[in-house]
Symmetry: C2
Subunit: 355 residues, 2 copies
């Protein structure tokens, strides 16, 4: 098969982890006789520095002309003083919007080999397998009006959702749940927010079309607790943009490191793939970055854009194998011996080739 | 000393835990020769049922005429279908606004005796002592416009802050930090939200007046992770209303049960005291509710409204003693033997009398 992949490595550790992910994709293509075509583009802080814009038109054109977009990470402390619309993150929000994917899938899985890396007790994390479905194009991220008036000292952001925005992402959550353990936990703050009431009513309505999927509602504050106390109780967790941002990072402690977490954004013109971790400028270039989040993100490309489920699983199993053999990057080494970003990438590559 | 306390027991387990808290306050008054005058008032679901309003005028008058307001909990599933303004929770939001307290103090402390009740490893929770300062009168909870148009299927809430709202709550956080371990962690989402940029700039400005307090900024998503990974790194955590709602509940897993957590809201005309837990209608009347959150809330009344620091400490130590002796309510019993709400209250009372 043939797949055009736009690679937007971005800032900080973005380029180094993305390199390992594309190596794995190249290996899969070679092993399977597929034709994966990679085109690079600028985004984020590096794009601001080189072109003045966090999402140059050339990048957007490349992305829209691709079958999948693989992002590294964006964000650079040197732009911290700028308003949101001028920061590296604006490039990320713009490309999310331009590609149109509204359902951000974030698996949160416990690896037996990493159970000691989590602050949670092993008996709590054992066998946890949660799939967050985070709405990615609505809520406070994109709502208008939004401003900060420095003269009057007043500032506003708008949380906005429409029924159709909620319906479409809820359908994806229920579709995914029906192929998993058939439970959707929808998270909102319906005891306070009108937007959450729309959310809850809409999700409840969509649920009627999925009689074999159980729906439960949780308030976001309680959920922040339940997800630590009883993570095994959850299968698919559906929520709005900002709640999903917070809860999926929180759930990173189940796996043990943000560096392990992949994500895929589906439902739009072109799927967008990005590891959950940020640009981590403090460790960029040191070889300490964990490439497994990016590599597992590559597996999601194989699954959701290339329809190569067997290869996706093979990559995931290669990651398991390397972890089971005891190899660790610094973030999951718990002070023990660690290997570099590149070494980890090579080991996964080897394990994949041998499988 | 003389103290007028309005007691608004509310819904679900509210009345049963509040009873234990007022018993403790009565004991303190008797032991110390103080004059605590309790006046009861309706709030929440019970107030809707009996008067049609979640915050009847009589209750508000009683509250405003008191030196401190002790709340139980509000919320009742039978009102779930109603819009936020008609629900029991509206009574809570109205009284918060009417009393004017904008700084909600939520201590999150690890008890050695309860270390097995937390899903976190004991070495992670050991000696944790965080004080959340949650802004309580701004943000999405109170911002206008806010509506859900069922015809068009569109809904809006508004996150709004002004510089003066941020300044006053930041001052409280820094004042408290300067009497503790001298560190403030301010939590926002400044890489996306304009409101968070106002928040961050304002907190940074306030920090200049507190040269011996260290200020750090964290993004809310990262913070949701850090607080589980390295809770000992935090002293005072300052944040806006909804982020504080989510993070302080999450931090409940450090203590091991929401049933243990007290809160005090200061800065307004009358201080408002409420345990962090909800009305838990499923266990109301079963004797399973943990009264320690309410009792520790009573200790906060002694500290912040009665200026009886020694008595506040004595109550807290009585709670420690009873826990150290192994007594547990159901929520912290981990399946082992448990005692009732009332029994727990009596034991704390005894420990206090003996101290
Ligand atoms: C970098 C930031 C804008 C982004 C977000 O908040 O969506 C990140 O935290 C994420 O979760 O992908
Ligand atoms: C009951 C609800 C309105 C309330 C809130 O969100 O403030 C509660 O969760 C709390 O934290 O006190």
């Amino acid at each position: 098969m043939r797949l055009k992949i736009a690679v937007l490595a971005g800032d900080g550790i973005g380029p180094e982890v993305t390199r390992e992910a594309t190596n794995i994709l190249r290996a899969v293509a070679e092993l399977g006789g597929h034709d994966f075509i990679f085109t690079e583009g600028l985004i984020g802080g590096i794009a601001i520095t080189e072109t003045g814009s966090p999402l140059p038109t050339a990048t957007l054109d490349t992305a829209l002309d691709s079958d999948a977009v693989l992002m590294g990470a964006v964000g650079d402390n040197k732009f911290n003083a700028l308003t949101p619309d001028k920061r590296p993150e604006a490039g990320l929000l713009q490309i999310r919007q331009a590609l149109g994917g509204f359902a951000n899938l974030r698996p949160s899985v416990a690896y037996a080999a990493l159970s000691e890396s989590s602050p949670l007790r092993p008996e709590v994390t054992k066998d946890v397998d949660i799939l967050f479905v985070r709405e990615l194009l609505g809520g406070l991220y994109f709502g208008a009006p939004r401003w900060w008036n420095r003269e009057t000292g007043e500032s506003i952001n708008t949380m906005r959702y429409t029924k159709s925005e909620v319906t479409r992402v809820a359908r994806i959550a229920f579709d995914l749940a029906s192929k998993r353990r058939r439970k959707v936990t929808s998270v909102d703050k319906a005891n306070v927010l009108e937007v959450s009431q729309l959310w809850r009513a809409t999700v409840t309505e969509v649920a009627k079309d999925y009689p074999d999927v159980t729906l439960e509602h949780q308030l976001v504050d309680s959920m922040a607790m339940h997800i630590m106390n009883t993570p095994r109780n959850f299968d698919v967790v559906l929520t709005e943009n900002l709640f999903g941002d917070i809860l999926s990072d929180e759930a990173g402690v189940i796996t043990g490191s943000l560096g392990m977490l992949p994500s895929a954004t589906i439902g739009g013109a072109v799927n967008l793939y990005e590891p959950v971790h940020g640009s981590a400028p403090d460790i960029a270039g040191t070889g300490k970055a964990n490439p497994l989040g990016a590599i597992l993100t590559a597996a999601m490309i194989l699954r959701h854009s290339a329809n190569l489920e067997t290869d996706a699983k093979a990559v995931e199993e290669a990651v398991h194998k390397v972890l089971n053999e005891g190899y660790r990057t610094a973030d999951i080494a718990r002070g023990g011996p660690s290997i570099t970003t590149q070494e980890m990438g090579k080991l996964v590559h080897q394990a994949l080739a041998e499988s």
